[in-house]
Structures are given as C-alpha cells and as structure tokens.
Amino acid sequence: MSTPTPAAARPLAIDQASRSGGLRAFGLWLGVALLLVVLPFVIRTPVAVPIMSQMGIAIVFALSFNMLLGQGGMLSFGHAVYFGVGGFIAAHALNLAAARGVYLPVPLVPLAGGLGGLVFAMIFGAFSTIRSGTVFAMISLGVGELMAASSLIFDRFFGGEEGITTNRAKAPLLFGLTFTKDREVYYLIAFWVVVTAAAMYAFSRTPIGRIANAVRDNPERAEFVGYSPRWVRYVSFCAAGLFAGIAGGLFAVNYEILTAENMGLNASGAVLLMTYIGGIGYFLGPIMGAVVFTFLQSMLSDYTGIWLLYLGILFLATVLFVPAGLAGLLMLHAPAWRAGRLPRLIGPYLLVAVFGVVAAVGVVGAFEMTHFLASAESTRATKRLFGVAVAPRTAAPWLAFIALTAVGALGLRWAAPRATAALAEANRPGPSR
C-alpha cells in the first residue's frame, strides 16, 4: 500500500466546497427571507395572514422538537411544557414592560420566552436526560402532567382557569414599530422564524450537533470516543427548550393569551404529530409538517367537526407506510429529479391520485355521515356533503360511499405497485432508456 499524501499537503475538499457552498447557503436563506416578505402580497385572502402567523409559530416549535427527536433520538411527550412556560414568561414580561416601564419592546419579547424555556429546560433536563429511550419518554410525560396539574395551584403565574392575558399595544416601541395589525405581527413572526431556523440549522452543524446524532445512533460508542452521552443529551435538551420558549413567546405576542392547555399533553401530542408527518430525518421535515398540519387544522375545521380524526389517520398512515414523512417522500425522488426523469412519473402517480381521491371521498363521506348521526345535528334529515345534499338515514348514500371506497381501494391496489415500480425505474442509476 503506497503512502498517501497527507491531507495537509493536498487542497482540502472543504476549501473548494466551503467557498461555493457558503455562498449558496447564504443565498438560500436570503431567498427564504424574501419569500416570507413577499408572501402576504401574493396570497391576498384576509384569513391567510393570521394562518401564516400560526404556521410560523408551529414551525419554530416543531423545529425545536426535532432537535430532540430527529437529531437526538429522544422522544418527548412533554415538550409543550417549555413552549407554554416560555409563553407565560413572555406574557408576564410584556405586562411588566407595560406597567413598570421596563424597556422590553414587542420584537424582543420572544427572547424573554426563550430565556424562560431555557431555564426550565436546564432544571428539568438535569434529571430528564440521565437516560434516553422509554425512560426519557416516561419522564417527559410525567413532567408534562406535573406542570399541567400544577397550573391550577400556582394561579398567580398561570392565571388559573382563565390563563394570563397580555397586550402588545401597551409595550414600549422599538424604532417606532407598532404591532396592531395582523401583517405587522406576521412580519415579526417571520423574522423570528428565519433567525431561529438558521440558528437551529447552524446548531446541527456544530460539534455538539454532530455528536448528538452519534449519541442517537449508538450512545455506547459515543462514550468510547470520549463523550458523555448524558451531557450531550442535556445540551440538546436545553437548546430545544430555548427555541420552544421562543415559539411560546411568539404565541404570546400573537394571541395575547396563554392558558394551561398550551403546556398540556394535547399540545405536546400536536407537535409530535406535525413533526413526524413532516419527517424527522430531514431539517425541512418539521417545517413541512408544521405548515401542512396548521393548514389542515385551520382549513378542515371550517368544514368538518372531525378534522382531528382525519389528522390522526394521516398520522397513523405516515407511521405505518411512510415513516420518513413528507420530506422523506420528497427526498425519495431526488435521484429521479437529478436524472430528469420525473415527468415519467406523472402518469402512474396521476392514476394513484385519482383512485386515492375516490377512496378518500368514500371514506370521508361515511365518516361524516356517522358523525352527523351521532351528534346533535341529527334533528335534521339531510347534510351537505361535497356540495350535494345527502340523507344519512337512508341506505342510498351509504351504499354509494361504500361503493366509492371499494372502487378506490381496489384501484389503489392495482395502481400503487405500478407507481412504485415506475419510481424505482426512474431512480435507477445509469443512462435513461
């Protein structure tokens, strides 16, 4: 075996990569920032801006959650504690700023939330991160329930049943910026989204960020190369708490009210759902998941009372069939995209989409009719479904929806393998045929 030239004597791979890569990365972030600035002008429906603000908060929250789950392998059922605590502290800080003249303008309020989240994460993390895996999950559940139950006791901090309210109009101003209009709040949130996302991305590229991945994969081996898995988990946990707290602060600024619900199991469950649906293995995953989840949650709840059921089904389907999430699904097409073979997939995918929609209509129809029969609406005889008035107490619509489901399911059974084969073919390395 010949002696290789030591790496120091050759031009390093990183030098070339870093110059062009650094510029590209900066350009990407700049592009994202510009997109966020322009968005309210592109989508002009009045309800869009508040929903985008909601998405922004969810993005920061989900990204912070993925620091634990995707990056560190730690499944937490109580992450909303740091979100909620951050929110409460931000609300109290904002109230203090208005009452005592402390200089805390609205744009800096999320930092107060972040500090709150960080402090609590440092306290609870001290014993939560001793072990990972199931024990960690159970401790996080216990801490979450503990905090939720405590909220009724410490009512000066948590405001009891009504929660704590605040008012961003009463705070001191920074550069004369007011935040009375939806769009102004949106831009504040968008700013923080870009800043925190960049920070969390940068964190994943630091030594501790890389070692967190190693500890996730094999904590024993990480110990044998000099690291304490417990310390690594603790640092990740504190960082995640910091960013969750910032998200909570954004929530406080946006909604001007915090209640114990924001700290509870439902909120922790929601962030788990959206992060997993988006894909825990990619940085973009939680972002996509937060957007989709918030979108479905806002849009669907206008049309149906059982939107959570649909989200639950989507979640289970993801866990069972697409564990890599939406981001993973997209990345699956990367080789085909690079080879320029994506157009070939349009046909098979369209077939799958058609049959999927048919089956979905059937299933949704059956569910909606069941909901109709079981709920208080059942004094009426008909219900509007997909623009048509159906009578759930007769057999006809049931038969129709069941037939649609059957046709859709059979069609999927036929079309799905063809689509999978087409994808495999498109991904195949080598020249196009």
Binding site: P6, L12, P207, I208, I211, E223, F224, A239
Partner: protein, 251 residues
C-alpha cells in the same frame, strides 16, 4: 521501558460466578501484544474492565501510570486509551466520513462546542481524511455506515478506534469473520495505524497473532497462565494443554 497498561490482581465476579480470578499483567509502551485463550476464558470481560464498561470487583488498573479503576469509559478514552469491538459498534445512520469524524472531535478539543462549524474546521477535516485514506474508504466516505460490507465495517471499526489519536489501542478480534485476503489487508492496516503506539489485541487467528505480536498473554479460566514471546508460548506445555486438552507426553 514505560508501562502503558498495568493490571494488578484484578478480580471480576458476576454475582457468585468469578470470571476474572486475579489477573496481573503489564503491557510495555510501544509494544504490540496479543491476548489469547480458549472460549469463555474472559478475554472480552478483561477488555470491558480495562475500558471501564464493567467495574472491577477488586484490584487496580493503571493507564500510563494513572489510576483508571472504576472510571467511566469516556474518561478513560480521554486519557489516551481507545478500543474496538468484537461485534461491530459503529454509527449506522451516519456516513463513513462522519463516523470517523465523531472520533476525532474530542481529541482535537472541540468538546461540547456549539460555536464552531465542523465543516469549516481544517484540522478535523485533515485528520478524518488521513484516517479514511489509511482505511481505503475515501471512495465510500458519503455512504451511510450501515450499508457497508462486513469487511468495510470492520475496517471502519478500527478507524473509529484510532482516529482520536489514542496511544494505547485495544482491538477485540479485529479479523473475526474475515476471509484470508481480507485478513491480510486488516493486518497490514493494523501494522500501519499502530506504528509507535501500544497495541493489545484479542485474537483467535494464530497466523495474525504470530505475525503481529511482540509478546503474547494467555488467559485461561480468568487467569494468565503465560505471558512471553511467541516462540516460548508456542513451546509452553501449559498453553498446549489449555488448547488441546491433553498434557503433552500423556496418552
């Protein structure tokens, strides 16, 4: 000659079962030594005791003069001792490059830093690339470690062990499960990467042992029955009895 590793009357029992029954062993710095013995002798247990995975029941272990008995594995590693595993123990989802890089980070002083960008760190990059070239894995550096072939994973296993620059290396059956030609490559690799360092390896392949080792220690039922040069071990009656089961000369 300085003592790299010193075991003094080490005992280890799991419950009522004694596994290591009073092992005293001195490994001089700069030597390559092998630890052999029949199955169940306690070789892996001894490794686990030295590297801190199990606590000793009694006795002392010293690394380069410093007391390491009862210390945690990461502390012992930071003092300059690194080990490989018999069952490949890598980071399966990380790329080959990242596997080696993880082993380099602490040694180069980066610790728990969240203010450095790893991709920009020249020293990390240099060291990692050098090790990857020694392992002949540069071409595979972006592949997730979990999909490598068995022999490639074993090479990576050794790579992770030595990348941190530890000067006392413990290798646990580095050539297990390998073909003739793969073994030859690994032996060459071991010779290269342990040049100037102290090596203690557990091995069953006698060809490898006699090829690499300056001295051989023989562990039988938790006790060292011989610790000598290869020629004298070959001729040692007690060693032969332990392996063949029959006292030489008897029928």
């Amino acid at each position: 000659m300085m003592r790299a590793l010193e075991l003094q009357d080490v005992h280890k029992a799991f419950g009522p079962t004694p596994i290591i029954r009073g092992v005293s062993l001195t490994i001089e710095a700069g030597t390559r030594q092998a630890l052999i013995g029949p199955n169940g002798a306690g070789k892996s247990t001894l490794f686990n005791l030295i590297t801190g995975k199990y606590p000793v029941s009694s006795g002392h272990i010293r690394l380069k003069g410093a007391e390491v008995t009862g210390r945690r594995p990461n502390e012992i590693n930071r003092l300059g001792l690194s080990r490989s595993f018999q069952v490949t123990n890598i980071f399966p989802q990380l790329s080959v490059f990242e596997n080696v890089r993880c082993s380099v980070l602490w040694a180069l002083g980066y610790r728990y830093s969240f203010w450095h960008r790893v991709n920009r760190a020249r020293d990390v990059q240099e060291r990692t690339e050098t090790v990857l070239e020694q392992l002949n894995l540069m071409a595979r550096r972006h592949v997730p470690a979990g999909v490598l072939s068995y022999a490639e994973q074993r090479a990576l296993e050794i790579g992770i062990t030595i990348a941190g620059g530890a000067d006392v290396i413990l290798l646990d059956e580095p050539t297990s499960g390998m073909s003739r030609s793969e073994t030859e490559h690994v032996v060459q690799l071991i010779r290269e990467v342990t040049a100037g360092k102290t090596l203690l390896m557990v091995e069953h392949d006698m060809g490898v042992v006699f090829d690499l080792a300056d001295r051989i220690a023989v562990l039988v039922y938790g006790e060292i029955i011989a610790h000598d040069t290869p020629e004298r071990i070959r001729a040692n009656a007690a060693v032969q009895e332990a392996y063949l089961g029959v006292p030489q000369g008897a029928v």
